[in-house]
């Protein structure tokens, strides 16, 4: 495969926290490996295609979140794409709508898309805001500690042994008490880490890419590698000092 399609899902609804950067990072890291990349902004008008290779959904506000869930439940483009071999990353509000249920702007439960076996409730305590560090699940291989920034009121409960993306080393992640973050199910990844998460964790990005295209050559750009390394170490040291 040399041509790939990267789909940014509803950046007009779920694009509030810089998460659109994930699509840019995936696209560039593919291009640097010689892939011919089409980066598509799937917005309200165009709708979401089901023939993409990589899908990225970001965080956003309650109203637009509920609207995105409605649209994605109707045509099921994400389920179609996943079953034909695509990979999916969903962050924060985007992660919540991939569960069985989440809360609408009226705080009533809404049906999610059901890709992850989890439900999101409202937490009556303080909002989870701050640096988040996550020890990755074994499935992720050798990606190292993950770093990001969380900012959410909802808490997500994994059901029936659903697999978290990792164990929280600092911060809150899905829920106060359970100390895990996100979810992973095959080629679908969910997390509360903004940053955007792939800019903060290029190894996680490469793992995500390899889910679709197989093993990858290292990137031949020492300046880019150094920039990532500086940021990664600074963020880890900032929290663990």
């Amino acid at each position: 495969m040399t041509r790939v399609k990267v789909v940014s899902v509803f950046p007009d609804l779920l694009g509030t926290y810089g998460d659109s950067g994930n699509a840019l990072v995936v696209s560039k890291r593919l291009a640097l490996r010689g892939f011919e990349v089409t980066l598509l902004e799937a917005n309200l008008k165009s709708g979401v295609p089901n023939d993409g290779d990589f899908y990225l959904i970001g965080g956003g506000e309650d109203g637009p979140q509920a609207r995105a869930a409605e649209l994605l439940t109707a045509d099921k483009p994400l389920e179609h794409a996943l079953s034909s071999g695509a990979a999916l990353l969903a962050v924060c509000a985007g992660f919540q709508i991939l569960g069985a249920s989440f809360l609408g702007p009226d705080l009533q439960p809404r049906n999610g898309i059901g890709i992850f076996d989890c439900v999101t409730h409202r937490f009556e305590g303080p909002r989870s805001v701050g640096e988040l560090i996550v020890r990755p699940a074994d499935e992720l291989g050798n990606v190292g500690l993950l770093t990001g920034y969380e900012n959410h009121q909802g808490v997500t409960e994994l059901l029936h042994g659903a697999q978290p993306l990792g164990v929280v080393a600092a911060g809150n992640g899905n829920n106060y008490g359970t100390k895990v973050d996100g979810a992973i199910d095959g080629r679908a990844l969910g997390t509360y880490m903004h940053g955007p998460v792939f800019a903060r964790n290029p190894k996680l990005c490469d793992f995500f890419i390899s889910l679709v295209v197989g093993s990858l050559e290292p990137i031949d750009d020492p300046d880019l590698i150094a920039a990532h390394e500086n940021l990664y170490l600074e963020r880890i040291n900032q929290v663990i000092k």
Partner: protein
């Protein structure tokens, strides 16, 4: 207003606050408003209400351009009123309380309050003061871990204005979230002040559907649409009904013509002569150190402050021909702890310039610039970064504390010891 309205307890509280401010300024450990304002409110919680009695007031709020629009407005009205206003940037309760504590009741005649107000505090402050006019500029993503979401803010403003029919509103009709907040008010003066950054305005605040933007405005299928403007901006002209006013400012950028149009809208509601208002505004060349050019180590440096993606779109307009750009990004509380928003800024616009990434979060910026294919260096200290530029003309763009730190460094007043005293003080009074 007679001094007797101020009781002994309030007089004591303002005296203590003024003394605190004097100490803060003498030691040069802060702007001299926030901390004394906290002291004042702790001793006398009703200070804002009691100190603003019989002071008709204009409040200006929005995500961007509050400080500049407030400064333009002050200048435009200063020929007709004795103005009481904020100490720059102190736009939350404590800052406004302290600004009022500096009010000299006895010297005032025909006084008017003109205050910029943080988005989250507009209703709280607006209810406590004798608010006559509120100007609403724009709403977009900004420091999301501090102020909450834009839609929520728009809804809160709407509830407040709906319950305050006597307040006149001057509002930007190009921003759907502003229109949603303002349209419940019986008398709105709509100003076509523009909206560069549309990403937060694409889904309709009424129905959740998609808002369609075109050259002539915006509209949603539910019927929610751009109101007909009362005040239009056409290049360097501001058009009011039949009257066209030439606006030739000393401040750079088209965005400042729009800010001046809002100030003229406010002036018209107060029956101030618009030609003299424009003359006064056109003489301004800086606002609290912003926009002006300073000499640093042989470079001519224009200082700009920008703290979010919408603000950055205006920066690209103002960088102009400067060959070198230094960007300073911090993540103190006042900046927002999370600089993820850097990915919402189209930094690709800086390709071809000499770019230096500076500030505490220079590494976040550096990764962002790599993915925008912008060649750059990283030099965390902003002054060193400016000195290292090859180009003679440099634009420095900082977010909030990065900009303030550079200004202090230029004043020669930066001192690690005093900084730690300030941080300790902030911790005690938080």
């Amino acid at each position: 207003m007679e001094n007797s309205i101020i009781g002994p307890r309030l007089r004591f509280a303002t005296a203590v606050a003024r003394m605190a401010s004097w100490i803060v300024r003498t030691l040069n450990i802060g702007e001299g408003a926030a901390l004394p304002g906290k002291v004042l409110l702790r001793i006398y919680p009703d200070a804002i209400k009691d100190l603003s009695r019989s002071l008709p007031t204009v409040l200006i709020s929005g995500t961007n351009a509050k400080t500049t629009t407030t400064a333009l407005c002050k200048e435009a009205l200063s020929g007709s009123f004795s103005i009481v206003s904020n100490v720059t940037g102190a736009n939350m309760e404590e800052g406004i309380a302290f600004s009022l504590a500096s009010r000299n009741f006895l010297a005032e005649s025909k006084s008017l309050g003109v205050f910029e107000v943080d988005e989250a505090y507009l209703a709280v402050i607006g209810t406590r003061m004798e608010t006559r006019i509120i100007a609403l500029l724009n709403l977009s993503r900004d420091q999301l871990d501090r102020v909450s979401e834009t839609r929520m803010t728009s809804g809160k403003w709407r509830a407040f204005l709906g319950a305050s029919p006597n307040i006149k509103v001057v509002a930007n009709c190009d921003d759907p979230l502003i229109v949603y907040a303002a349209q419940v008010s019986p008398g709105v003066l709509w100003v076509a002040a523009g909206l560069n950054f549309r990403q937060d305005a694409r889904s309709c605040p009424v129905c959740g559907g998609e808002i369609e933007f075109s050259d002539s405005g915006w509209t949603c299928s539910c019927g929610f649409a751009r109101p007909v403007p009362d005040v239009k901006v056409e290049g360097k002209k501001v058009v009011f009904g039949g009257k066209t006013i030439e606006v030739d400012l000393g401040l750079p950028g088209q965005c400042n013509v729009a800010n001046a149009a809002v100030a003229l809208g406010i002036a018209s509601l107060l029956n101030v002569d618009l030609d003299s208002a424009v003359r006064r505004m056109s003489q301004m060349t800086e606002v609290a150190g912003r926009y002006k050019r300073v000499a640093i180590d042989g470079h001519s440096v224009r200082l700009l402050l920008s703290k979010n993606p919408a603000g950055w779109l205006e920066v690209f307009d103002m960088v102009g021909d400067d060959p070198s750009v230094v960007v300073g990004i911090n993540s103190q509380i006042a900046d927002g702890r999370d600089p993820s928003w850097l990915w919402d800024v189209p930094f690709e616009a800086l390709r071809g310039k000499e770019v230096v990434a500076a500030g505490e979060r220079a590494y976040d910026l550096s990764v962002r610039l790599h993915y925008a294919d912008v060649a750059h260096r990283v030099i965390k200290d902003p002054l060193e970064a400016i000195s290292a530029c090859q180009g003679n003309e440099v634009t420095f763009v900082g977010n909030y504390t990065s900009f303030q730190d550079l200004r202090k460094a230029l004043d020669g007043s930066e001192s690690p010891f005093l900084n730690s005293v300030r941080r300790l003080g902030e911790r005690i009074f938080r």
